[in-house]
Amino acid sequence: MAYEAGSYDVIVIGAGHAGVEAGLASARIGAKTLMVTINLDMVAFMPCNPSIGGPAKGIVVREIDALGGEMGKNIDKTYIQMRMLNTGKGPAVRALRAQADKFTYQHEMKKTLENQENLTLLQGMVESLIVEDGECRGIITQTGATYYAKSVVITTGTFLRGEIILGELKYSSGPNNQQPSIKLSEHLEALGFDMVRFKTGTPPRVNSHSIDYSKTEIQPGDDVPRAFSYETTKYITEQLPCWLTYTNEKTHTLIDNNLHRSPMYSGMIKGTGPRYCPSIEDKVVRFNDKPRHQIFLEPEGRNTQEVYVQGLSTSLPEDVQQDILRTIPGLENVQMMRAGYAIEYDSIVPTQLWPTLETKKVKNLYTAGQINGTSGYEEAAGQGLMAGMNAGLHSLGREQVILSRSDGYIGVLIDDLVTKGTNEPYRLLTSRAEYRLLLRHDNADLRLTEIGYNVGMISEERYQKFLSKKQQIEEEIMRLKKIILKPNAEVQGLIQSLGGSELKDGIRASDLLKRPEMSYAHIEQLAKATSELDDEVKEQVEIQIKYEGYIEKSLQQVDRLKKMENKKIPNQIDYDDINGLASEARQKLKSVRPLSLAQASRISGVNPADISILLVYLEQGRIAKVANE
């Protein structure tokens, strides 16, 4: 029986990594928010890797934190190990990665949700949306409960018509044997959304007691305390190690011999899988010259014996999985607790979204996470945050936020999705960002805190702290640019001890810092700051001075991009009315409906000549308007 159950500003469907950020963002902005999920015990569940961060992804978590999101804070409370990656490389590609205690991660997140003002949690299965006059007005659940809302965000992950495939077995299911969402997927299709079928997979889990760790290599966390969130002050000191082992010829032969039983090769799996996350059978077939592949053994938490076998994602039959595991050093007697599996699911073609993540087809409806064709918790969370933020702002009649490609990896991610679409589950890679020197781990706060504060997700206290940090950085850079260091014994001595070439004349402290052998700590010895500065401030000063030339180059590129971005394309533009557009370009422009000339130029198939014509056409309209006035 249908019944009216309530009315909200925003409803979020789903409580995975996208859903929780969406719900929190919307509620923190001040929108009255309802969050509905199939199973309240599975909030912020990690169905795959028990880890957060890594290159590009780790920077997304920092960005989420700078905008006022939760992922960074939550992992800081629940990690079992944390490492800074790429420390031997430049500052632009450094990234944090944490192994999570996946259970406490869930519990902490649920606690945060429950204590969030303006946010209501509800267990229920959404079956359809209320759509009238092309606008979404609410949702209806399996039990007939009808909730009204000004905006709705869908974050259904891999639940939409999910199907688990394990060897010869295939059944309808969400991840980890949860209830799939079937009616909602059919409903979206009926509303006219283009859907695609994607596939992803997960490896088996094994019992830690049955592992002989002496045959593996230890992978400890960093000794230095690390944190994702700019607000974290308490660090977890006791860390758990991961362990490294390898597949071998025996493993590969076994896989080869059982390929006929693999659903990947028997044609049972039809969805497109990600290239960056191939199954072990895929790796063995495609790279058959490799004598071994790495296998990382990652604990799933502090209070469990389950260990995640990273590198062994597979959909081979259960008995084969067990045999494969036992060919691996350290796992000779291993007990497999859960088999790996592949999962196929529906996602919508993301070019059907505006850069705000609102759908073009149905107003007030937003989608985020795996439903948009991405993979990864961080990618989901970043989208969830933006979709929730925009749904909230929209419901309150405020202006929505679009991050540009030069603002952050989140901007790159969303722009790629809505402009280019994707033909495999999309993962962020550092190479997708053209301004990655600007999109660093260390400066996420400098890039985004302002935005988070303006929408109301950053507290006044944190904002004041941020402003003071920013000022200190600027002042210290100015100071070092003014100080001239004379070639006296102290200076020459230090340079000599570092193996640099001695000074002939005086040199600006900032110029000396640019030398490869110099660090801020060295300069500090020669030109002491008037007041003691935070390590974070020192780090910024060093990076900003050392890489000034390269940063400057990137900023010039961004300037050019901004000019193109400021050329807005009105929504009511009629591409059929423009003479001279190439037909492929015309068709692509009609489908993507870019908001700016910059976005238009990134659509594949739209050439510079088409952009020129579009520009002239737009200017023609402007001139016509002036002439009429």
Binding site: G90, R275, C277, S431, L437, S612, I613, I623, A624
Partner: protein
């Protein structure tokens, strides 16, 4: 809204006594001041707007005079584009104009896209609304044409070379990326400064080599080296004059490249001809007599095209037959001139001597047969039967400018390595090099890097 400065040759190639290189944009005056040296050491920035100045374009790399010019300095907004505009009046002729344009492009200007001056004029409100459609048509038409031309040039060696270079760079990029995105994968070798330097130096050398060949004897830049031969009084001088007059070429005396030989450029239906020893023809009508037998053999040997003239109103002599023998195996057009007079020549014999070479009959005096001659020249050139050295190499200004940019970019990368800059930052310049090379062959898709990444390395969880 567009802040860069564009440059292009604004007069039709080879059709005027002067040619104009036009610069438009905020840096037009800076770029011009950097390259232009006026007689009184005036700075164009400081002269009154809309004035013209005599001086020289100097190549800042060599400090040598590249061209004698008149420069018009026009401050915006009272200009065609409403931006700052500099117009450099050069002597006509492909070589000199191209050289000036090249200098502009390597010193901060970007080659204008087809119709871009007009586009800017429009965008800056200089042209009214009714002309907007025409501008769009212009962009489309010119782009298609330019595209076809570019594609035509792109077939073959240059495009293959660039593709190979890009693939080399792409592999390095993918290697660096995989180190960044998958720092724990031990079956991927770490890209070191040493390894990167090796690859970057290879790319640098290849680009330098390309640029070197582009500066040598480029046909399109320097013309098809053409020699007119024939006995005295067969009409060589008339042939020269009619080619020159028909095509309004001018005499260019390039110091240093010619000694006793003077060269003249004409543009015959798009084919640039460099007419060798035209002065000799004018003075004595006989190249052999003028520069000696050995030297003339040499000139013939170096020529890309020989125009052999015989007299319709005279019988073939031994001297004619010797000339036919001397040019055997070369690209020759045989011209039987003076058809306005009574025939005395044995055409059968001429055809036999000409064998499979092209043969044209003319009366230069009555302007008969000149069209056919021009047709023959352009056919010979465009069907590719003339095999001049380096024909497939870089000739077009846009390509040369892009190659210079690519070279600067790869040099920056190498400098970065020398300074010990982290590899992922050096990679910015390497990526830029890859993109610029992509612009030459019209391909700059970012996604190919990601494809490379996954096909080259075994990655995953």
């Amino acid at each position: 809204m567009e802040l860069d400065t564009i440059a292009a040759i604004s007069t039709p190639m080879g059709e005027g006594a002067i040619a104009i290189v036009r610069l438009s944009g905020p840096e037009a005056f800076d770029i011009a001041d950097h390259l232009f040296k006026s007689v009184g050491d005036k700075r164009l920035k400081e002269v009154p707007s809309h004035t013209i100045h005599y001086g020289h374009i100097i190549d800042p790399k060599t400090d040598q005079v590249a061209e004698e010019v008149m420069v018009s300095a026009m401050k915006g907004p009272k200009t065609f584009t409403k931006e700052d505009v500099i117009e450099i009046n050069c002597h006509g002729g492909l070589v000199s104009v191209n050289r000036v344009l090249q200098l502009m492009l390597t010193n901060g200007a970007r080659l204008a896209e087809p119709g871009e001056f007009t586009k800017r004029a429009f965008l800056n409100g200089r042209i009214d609304l009714s002309q907007a459609e025409a501008v769009m048509d212009l962009i489309r038409a010119k782009t298609d044409k330019a595209m076809n031309v570019a594609l035509g040039q792109m077939e073959g060696r240059l495009s293959n070379l660039i593709k190979r270079l890009r693939q080399e760079i792409l592999e390095v990029l993918a290697h660096v990326e995989v180190n960044i995105d998958y720092p724990e994968y031990d079956d991927v070798e770490e890209m070191t400064h040493h390894l990167l330097l090796e690859k970057a130096s290879f790319v640098q050398k290849e680009i330098e080599q390309l640029l070197r060949t582009s500066q040598q004897g480029k046909i399109l830049r320097e013309g098809l080296s053409t020699v007119i031969v024939g006995r005295p009084n067969v009409g060589k001088s008339s042939l020269l004059n009619s080619l020159v007059h028909e095509n309004k070429a001018i005499v260019t005396d390039i110091p240093g490249t010619t000694r006793d030989v003077i060269e003249e450029y004409v543009n015959v239906r798009g084919v640039p001809l460099k007419l060798v020893d035209t002065a000799g023809i004018r003075e004595t009508e006989d190249i052999v007599e003028r520069i000696g037998v050995e030297r003339s053999r040499q000139v013939l040997k170096e020529a890309d095209l020989i125009l052999l003239v015989v007299n319709y109103s005279d019988e073939l002599t031994d001297e004619d037959i010797n000339l036919f023998k001397a040019v055997e195996g070369m690209d020759v057009i045989v011209i039987v001139n003076k058809t306005d007079l009574e025939q005395k020549i044995d055409m059968e014999k001429v055809r036999q001597l000409a064998a499979n070479q092209k043969l044209v009959t003319t009366s230069l005096l009555e302007e008969q047969g000149i069209n056919e001659l021009e047709e023959a020249i352009s056919e010979l050139f465009f069907t590719g039967s003339i095999e001049a050295e380096d024909m497939t190499y870089v000739s077009n200004s846009r390509h040369i400018a892009l190659l210079h940019q690519a070279l600067n970019s790869i040099n920056d990368a190498i400098e970065g390595v020398d300074l010990g800059t982290p590899i992922d930052i050096v990679q910015i310049d390497l990526t830029r090099t890859w993109e610029i090379l992509g612009e030459i062959i019209g391909d700059s898709v970012q996604d190919s890097l990601i494809d490379q990444l996954f096909s080259q390395f075994c990655l995953g969880k």
